[in-house]
Symmetry: C2
């Protein structure tokens, strides 16, 4: 299907515009989070102005013509672009480059800024470039924002379960 498109952003005015969109939504997210807003606002959630390469990943227009594999699951188009982004992420990391996937923006405003056609949807602002260091653990875990759950809470055996796991089940 190849529903994915990438827009490479090198124009400085456009980069600033995207940065402002992310800042706007960052404040709105902080408000929506309520009591954790100060904590949230202290997190560094983007490098839109600083990174070496800025890409916007999007779903193309006219995706409704693709039926194969998505008659009951039309959202497989987003799965496709997500896999493409994950490949880019791993390739970047293998080259010693960092990447941040920013999803804190108003998609309608970003689509307008990039002259995207009706029916297309931006799904990621990707900040790529050299970094001072890689985090030893996910940033949200290091800051105490969230904890990584162990795999045995996430992998089940034959039936959905909130207690059993593959490891704990014997055939």
């Amino acid at each position: 299907m190849q529903p994915w498109r990438f827009v490479r952003v090198t124009d400085l005015a456009l980069r600033r515009q995207i940065h402002d969109l992310v800042e706007d939504e960052r404040l709105r997210t902080a408000t929506a989070l309520g009591k954790r807003d100060d904590e949230f606002l202290s997190l560094k959630v983007q490098g839109v102005l600083d990174c070496g390469e800025l890409l916007v990943a999007a779903l193309c227009e006219a995706r409704e013509q693709y039926v194969f594999g998505r008659r009951t699951l039309p959202e497989m188009d987003l799965a496709s672009v997500s896999c493409a982004i994950q490949n880019l992420w791993l390739a970047a990391r293998a080259e010693g480059l960092g990447m941040g996937w920013v999803s804190i923006f108003d998609p309608v405003a970003l689509a307008r800024a990039l002259s995207m056609p009706e029916g297309s949807v931006p799904v990621a602002v990707l900040c790529i470039g050299h970094v001072e260091a890689f985090y030893p653990a996910p940033m949200l875990e290091l800051t105490g924002w969230a904890r990584v759950r162990p795999l045995d809470q996430l992998v089940f055996h034959n039936q959905w379960s909130t207690t059993k796991s593959v490891e704990g089940t014997h055939e």
Copy 2:
């Protein structure tokens, strides 16, 4: 967020039930495709009964509590599970194993078969195992079903375009 769950299916009766769900949807997809239905029905779209390991990947329930990074793009949960599946896919390939992502099923019926809770959604039936050979090109391309589009039609520069590409643009 870790919204992804994996259910490992080893029970043979359950595997047959999933196979039947895929067969049902395969016939419905063929009808929806109209004139290409004979051609479509000749495609091998799954190895649910034959593969060494069968996994169902799903989105967990109660995802609405996660606001960070998805206030304007709630579908980032599907992006997350898609990245997890892509990692699994690449890891399998690195071990010499093939993987097929089947999205041809009724998600409501599959959720019922696995006792999935309200609000959770299955997004992939994953067939993993040893294969006779890897395709030299995507199967849908080899069968003439679709053509891979070149990257310069999919990557743009600063603004969306249907004609320009990064390669064709000079700063």
